[in-house]
Amino acid sequence: MSLLSVENLRVTYPTRQGPSEVVRGVSFNLGRERLGIVGESGSGKSQTGRAILGLTPAPGLATADRLEFDGIDLRQADARQWRSLRGRRMSMVMQDPKFSLNPVMPVGKQLMETLRTHGAPRSEAKNRALEMLEAVQIRDPERVFRAYPHELSGGMGQRAMIAMMLVSAPDLLIADEPTSALDVTIQIEVLRILDKLVSERGMGLIFISHDLRLVSSFCDRVLVMYAGQVVEELQASDLHNARHPYTQGLLNCLPKIDGDQRPLPTLNRDEAWTK
């Protein structure tokens, strides 16, 4: 049975030129697996992730024919229900730790906040927060616990964010470009943490990224988005058999260590893809 089902999700923003639809009818089911959503900037992949958590910023409007998380209809959820879900059962890792952590609160306090909100006693919350920092491979968890976000490097901040989202052991994690700001070697470590959570705890993971190569090596299944629509859905291992010209174009335009193709093929966008 699926953890999350999304049917015909649409996100619209009003503009002076009339409503602009940034997500146009996205449907998918997520089990306890790693699902990748790939696309370029502006393809609507982040908006899709936000809409699932009910975080579409006003005046944007998200609608769907169906939006169900573990049998709960999210479209009808009121503020109280959302509070009980967000953070505890489904959470999101944002792209940039610089803008997503509270700059005037120590990291440890932010980590404990989730647990305290959902009713854990202070001492237990502190222990679990420290354990989680250790679990995301932070060498000196005590220091990071006391540190303010500006005292951490980008990689540390990102790991602290991941720790924060995982400390409550959610069933669904939406990770929006969680590793784009990280160095390649650290990136692999972070992915390993996420991978472990999926395989050991049965978490469902939606991994949003622009990096097709990374997604194909990490996820089970990949949705490719273009202009607010899913243009292709593939098993990650089948990526080289991609049929849609957009997916093929994205794959081909990456430089390769071994390839010596010059000029690099560029992507010729076709109006028909947006239909």
Binding site: S41, S153, D183, V184, L214, R262, L264
Partner: protein, 266 residues
């Protein structure tokens, strides 16, 4: 001409050499040695890559070359003569830089026209109108973009403006600091093709800093791997492709750039 032929040919003619470069930042009592004794030489017409993770000092090397970071030791030699500190106009006439973030490196309230005319005015160039139009043409933007503001351009278009700004002085050496890391993959391909074409047409020398081994392998004949402010290893493109890395660190980088693999690395 293939990469290896080019590097052999140009090895004899060094345009820029960096010898035991040291860069130390001081804040109060704290000292950070960002670059610790890095040396390399770049041949005329060569494209030289510097690879490393954040904090490895790779960008600081570029900034030190163009005078944006304080050098505390070592020499930087351009065409046989140590470069003056502070850098003079004649230096910038020959060496120009393209920065990483096209959103931060263009003045938000200056039109493209004023961005491009400023270096021309400083260097006392003639035929400015013509040169601006030509520079925009060369980076594939065209005259229509001349009186726009940066916010009216996409990331890829802005990076083209940054390349045009560097090119307009007809320099010999261009320092490229992560020129495509802020761009989408398809736009990255376009900018890399542009840089490749310009180098072939004008015989430019590049020093390209990137964290992406694939980009460096595509663009550069030789590369230097840096870690913690030190040079770890210098490789040719051929050695990189043959996976003939000597040091563990470079091997780790190579492995990591292939994507995620479930098994724990040994």
């Amino acid at each position: 001409m293939t990469g290896t032929e080019m590097s052999e040919k140009t090895m004899t003619d060094t345009v820029l050499s960096v010898e035991n470069l040291e860069v130390t930042f001081r804040a109060g009592l704290e000292e950070v040695r960002a670059v610790r004794g890095v040396s390399f030489t770049v041949g005329r017409g060569e494209s030289y890559g510097i690879v490393g993770e954040s904090g490895s000092g790779k960008s600081t090397v570029l900034r030190a070359i163009c005078g944006l970071a304080p050098t505390s030791g070592g020499r930087i030699v351009l065409d046989g003569a140590p470069i003056p500190a502070p850098r003079d106009a004649a230096f910038y006439r020959r060496v120009q830089m393209v920065f990483q973030d096209p959103y931060a490196s263009l003045h938000p309230r200056h039109t493209i026209d004023s961005v491009l005319s400023e270096p021309l005015a400083i260097q006392g160039f003639d035929r400015r109108e013509e040169r601006i139009e030509q520079a925009l043409e060369e980076v594939g933007l065209g005259k229509g973009f001349r009186f726009r503001y940066p916010h009216q351009l996409s990331g890829g278009q802005r990076q083209r403006v940054a390349v045009a700004r560097a090119l307009i002085l007809e320099p010999e050496v261009i320092l490229l600091d992560e020129p495509t890391s802020a761009l989408d993959a398809s736009i990255q391909a376009e900018v890399l093709n542009l840089l490749d074409r310009l180098r072939a047409e004008r015989g430019l020398t590049y020093i390209l800093v990137s964290h992406d081994l694939a980009v460096v392998s595509h663009m550069c004949e030789r590369l230097l791997v840096m870690q913690h402010g030190q040079a770890v290893e210098e490789l040719t493109r051929g050695a990189l492709r043959a996976r003939q890395a000597q040091t563990d660190y470079t091997k780790t980088l190579l492995k990591a750039s292939e994507g995620y693999s479930a098994e724990v690395p040994a």
